[in-house]
Each structure stands twice: as structure tokens, then as C-alpha cells.
Point group: none
Chain length 201, copies 4
Amino acid sequence: MSVQTRGRLLEAAKRVFSEKGYHEAQISHIINRAGVARGTFYLYFRSKEEIFKELLKEVVEELKKRIKVINLSEDPLEQITENIARVLDFTLEERELARIVLQRNSDPNLFFVIDKFFEDILEMIKGSLNKGILIGVIRPCNTELMARVILGAVKETVSGFLDKEEDIDTYKIAKELVDFGVRGIWKTGRGGCYDRDNGAL
Amino acid sequence: MSVQTRGRLLEAAKRVFSEKGYHEAQISHIINRAGVARGTFYLYFRSKEEIFKELLKEVVEELKKRIKVINLSEDPLEQITENIARVLDFTLEERELARIVLQRNSDPNLFFVIDKFFEDILEMIKGSLNKGILIGVIRPCNTELMARVILGAVKETVSGFLDKEEDIDTYKIAKELVDFGVRGIWKTGRGGCYDRDNGAL
Amino acid sequence: MSVQTRGRLLEAAKRVFSEKGYHEAQISHIINRAGVARGTFYLYFRSKEEIFKELLKEVVEELKKRIKVINLSEDPLEQITENIARVLDFTLEERELARIVLQRNSDPNLFFVIDKFFEDILEMIKGSLNKGILIGVIRPCNTELMARVILGAVKETVSGFLDKEEDIDTYKIAKELVDFGVRGIWKTGRGGCYDRDNGAL
Amino acid sequence: MSVQTRGRLLEAAKRVFSEKGYHEAQISHIINRAGVARGTFYLYFRSKEEIFKELLKEVVEELKKRIKVINLSEDPLEQITENIARVLDFTLEERELARIVLQRNSDPNLFFVIDKFFEDILEMIKGSLNKGILIGVIRPCNTELMARVILGAVKETVSGFLDKEEDIDTYKIAKELVDFGVRGIWKTGRGGCYDRDNGAL
DNA sequence: CATGAATGAGACTTCATTCAT
DNA sequence: TATGAATGAAGTCTCATTCAT
């Protein structure tokens, strides 16, 4: 079992799944990219599904590594910003993998790991929000909903980057995201009442 | 050409595509649900792809109907809230269609209409933000990014609802979303600076 | 579902399985003989295994029809002879099917029906022997073993016929078989004692 | 060329072919049992077919050793009994090999040696019968058919033993077989005529 | 002598589409 | 207009065999 060959297959699969999605992707595509014979594929993976899940597992593990638990004795906003920046960094380094994760096909079995990951993230955000409310830094709100809103914001941001070739200052983007969130749910500050005198939107 | 039969096929296809996604969906599933013979399908649609695109077109049209242009002589926040509420209503009425739209398969040809729709929405939001900044009700920000953030927030919110059976007060949800956005990007109000003396998040 | 096509497939399968055995037989062989497209096969049978089992079921049913329960108020030897003759007739009419039955592959799942059939036959013969002993027309013997011996004799006889082109008088053969079972082949008196004076074998 | 390795491969193959039959048996199974690398297999045997035929050759040789020509100056029935007993002994000692021989797959090329062996046996039995008739110890009969009957009886008997775990008195069984051949199983006198007055079977 | 990674022909099966009725 | 039997290209996976080390 050559680790090299296995690696080449994973690398090839990553690209193919990213470009074509799970169903359009064919074993032929993968082995052609890997420069390997058909049978060799099945020496390392039992099926198309297996190599796909393997890839998903990899992303999730990598993403989890980048998301660090908030240490309350330091500036939490800074830590959140860094978490987001690291996630953005990863998705830019591994655009293929990111694209795969974002393809939400409706096969629950196939995307189980991803679904689980996002649910975990959702729980984590919600937990943080609740804690923030208790401590008094976050204004009382529908944390379930807000958690979704935050997750969705990050996901869509990532999606927007995937096709851009330019260099992106992920730290700056992360700061803008946090800034958006913070001023939105931060306790102090004004509510969104419409100022009729100044007019519109 | 019986309009009835065509309708039954579209209705059936909607459910099948929603439940199984494009690739897992089979013509057999559709014609069985529609109670129609195999050949009949091809009397009304040239291919599986065509009926799928037809469906996408329908959703997009329906969604566009529900999103009304902001009238600056009225409360814009109220109008935005109503727009969002109408979108949420639609997705709850037609969960199948919503599920289809949210399946982001990576076949650009297949999902062309959807991609186009979201790009339009993005442009629209960005335009509104820019106008708001000019008028002075919105603080200067990366409107490209913020538009994405807002879109992502709504998308993920919708996703979260699709599996829930309970009755949902869409207007209230929409208000919470707007509230989040408003207090976040509204000009007045404090920035998110961390209060080291109080500690924590 | 055209009964005709199904019939042609079964007919073709019968020949192919008979000639090549289960494993060497290919779907291609079957559909070529049947003059039918690849997909058509799977319209009528879920798999190669299914059509094979279908065939086995057919043989067993046909064979059971030909084997009639002995009626004690008539000459039993005559009835046995006729039973055997009918079995021989069938195997000659349907040499392909007979050949399939006689291919004892070691896949117990595949040949389940056949194994069951032979076990039933074995039980039946043993039962008859036991009854014959009770009534006093058959001498006490190891009926388990004798049943096997009789079954084996018939099986092998059938095997011997399968490749012969000539017309065969099955009734005569059956009579010879029964005769062998009844009297044995030893010339001198009852009991197989060797007559040293007359010399060898 | 290590004779040891070759032996281990043959031993492993014997078990595998016996358990799974020729087609289900895989080279992997054999080399795993033998504890030998894949390439090594092809150092000793050119192909799966070759090792199989080698095995068949072994059985046939072994069987032929156990079947001794009848010596006319001794009791022939006793000699026949001993021949049969030796064959039964062998099949019990080497159940795997016996099982292989009895798998009558319909690939004539593959089972050539076995088919040849059984034909030889058939010829031998027929010759003996003819001689017996000439000498006057066997009653005139269809020796071709009778030879088959005898072969089938022994084959089926062996088949019946292969799955039994108990100790089997092969000499006794052989005697019963010969006895059946010699006298038949009909109780009343010579000739199997049905006694209508006594009724039944 | 031995290894085991690599090969690739070819098997089975699926399913969108066609076409004669 | 409707039917549904038939089609066949194309996909996934298996496994006997090879060959460089």
C-alpha cells in the first residue's frame, strides 16, 4: 500500500469532486488525473462513496483544528476574528475542499459528516451567544436564529471567495464580519428605528 | 397538449427533485407520482434537465414577485421586513421548491437560473446599501461583503426552517433578521470594543 | 411486459446456463441468443441470479408433476417404473434443464431449490422403503443408504443420456433400473455368496 | 523452487476450491491461507486453472491407487467390497478433494481429468460385468446401464457422507452397497414380480 | 526465491430516451 | 394524445495476472 499512490488518488479526487460534484464525478476522471489504473483505485478505496467520505472527514478535521475555543481571559472578539480568519485561510488554501463542503446535495447519508459538523458549529455559536447574554455583553435575542444567521453569513462569504483569483486579506474580512455581528447584537447602542426626517432605508 | 397533464408532471417533479435531488431523481419516480406513462413525459418535456430548469424558472419568478422594490417615501425597514417575510412565507408554502433552490450542486449549467437569481439579489442588496450610505442612514462599509452576509443569513435561515413542522411566525422572524442587520450596520450606536474590565466575550 | 420476450429470455437462458454453467454464463450470451437489448433483460429479471433461480423453480415443479404418489391398490413396481420413465422423458425433452440441475455447483444459496428437491426425493424414497419393509415386500435394509443408492443410480443414468442423440426407450430403461433394484445382478440364488467352484466375479 | 511452498499452496487451494468451488475461489483466498505473497503463487503455478487441474490429477491418481484389479482366484465380491471401502475411506480422509471431484461444473476443459476418470471407471465396471456374464455369475443385463447405476450409487453415497461428522464404518457400508447390487432389495423370491394377493408396494 | 503494488479487460447493472402501436 | 416495451451508452466494481524491486 503505497502512501504516495493513495495521496495522488485523494488529491485527484479532491479536484474532480470539487469541479463536478459527487454524482457527475466518475472514477475515470479520478484515475486519469491520478495517472493510475482502474484497479488501483479499488486497492485503496472500496468505492466512490468511500473516497468521498474520506475527503469530507479530512475537511472537517482540518476545520475543527482551525477553530479554537474562546479563552475568556483574553479579548473574545479578537479570538473570534482569528477563528474566522483561519477558516477563511483554509478555504482559500483548499478551495476544492471548500467547494465540496458547500455543495449541499440532498443525500443525507453522503453528507452526514458535514451536516454533523455544521450542527456542531451551530450549537457552539448558540452556546457562546447564551453565555454572552448571561455575562451581559450580548443583548437578549433569539440565539437559535442568530446562530444560523452568523453561520450563513460566513458560509456565503466563503462561497463568494471561491472563484476569485486575487489575494484576499482574510484577517480584514474576518474583522468586517465580526464588526457587522458585534454592532448588531452588542448590547449597548441604538436600536434600528427609522429616522423619518433623514428619509429612506 | 393537456395543460392538466403538464401540471401533474411539474407537481410530481417538484416533489421528487426536492426529496432526492437532481441526480437521484429518476424519470420513473416522476411519472409514477404523476400517474402518467413514460412516453407521455417526453410529450411535454424534452428531457429531465428541461423539466428541472422549468421548475427553477418557476421558483425564481415566484420569488421575484414577492420581492418588491423599496419605496423611499415609506419606512424602508418595514418594507425590507415585509420582503423577507414574503420570501419566508413562500419557502414554507413551497418547501419542495425551496429545497431544490438550496441544493447547490456544482453543475453551473443546470443551476444557471438560480445562480443568476442570487447574483441579481446580491446586486440589488449592494445597490440598496450604497444608496443608504449616500443618504447617510447606513455607515460606510464593504457593501459587497455585507450584501453576501445578508444573503447568507437569509438562506441559512430558510434552510433551518425546511424540516420544521411547526407553524412559524415569519413576520416576527423577518423582524429579528432586520433588527440584527440594522443594529449592526446602522450608523449611530457603539462599535464593538471589548470592555477589558468586565472581562469575557 | 411482453410474455413473449420473457419467454425468449428464459429459453435463451436455459440454453446458455446449460452449456456454460452459472458462472461462465454471461448476460451477453443470453441477450444475444434472445435477440434482445441489454436493458430489456433487466426489465424482466432483476439479475442473473434471479433468472437462474426462476429456471430451477420451473424444473423442480415440472419434475414434481411427473412423480406420482404410489397407489397401493395397483402394482407398485409398475408405478415406480412409470415414475422413472416420466422423469427420464422429461430430462430428454428438456436436456438443457436437466444439465443445469445436474451441475452441482457448491453455492448453496444458488442451488437451494435443487438441494431441497433432492432431499425431498430422498425422504420420499426412504419412506417408501420403510413402508415396503413393514408390509413385508422389501427385505430389511439400511433405508437411508438405499435411498441414496437409488437416487444416485437414476441421476447417473440421466447424466449418461444427456449427450446421446439416439432415440431412447425410456420405459425399457426404467424397467431395467427397477429390475436391478428388485433382484440385483447376481445370477445364482439369493444372497451374494461366491461360488468358488464356478470361479471368479 | 521450495517444495514446501508448493505444498502449502496446494493444501490451501484444496481447501478453498472445496469450500467455494472453482469460480468463487479466488487467488487471494489461496495465498492468504498459504501465507504466501501474490507473486509467489505464479512462481509455482501458471494460473488458477493449472493449480486446479493439478489437484484433480492428484485425486485421480490417489483414487486409482485404491482401486485394485479383481483377482479371479479370490472371492470377487470381497475384493469389490474392499475397493469400495478404500474409495470411501479416501473420500472421508480427504473430504475437500472429494467435494471438488463431485462438483460437476459444466466446463469440459476444466474437468477433463475427472470426466476421463469416471469414463475409465465406467469402462472397468462394464468390462467386469461382461466378464461376469460370460463366466456365468452375473445374469445377462444391459451392462452399459448397470455400470452407470453402480457408479451413480457410489457417487451419491459419497456425497451423502461429506457433511457428516460421525465416524463411519466404511467396510460395512461397502458391504451393504455390494449386497444391494447382488441381491436387490426385494424380499420375496427371485424376480420382482408383484404379488397381487398380498397387495401393496 | 519472494514480494505486493499495479494493471486492465470485462462483468454486471442502471436509466434517460425512443418509437411502434 | 397516450402508452409502455425496448434500447444501449455508460457507469461501477472485480480479480486473474504481471513486473519492478
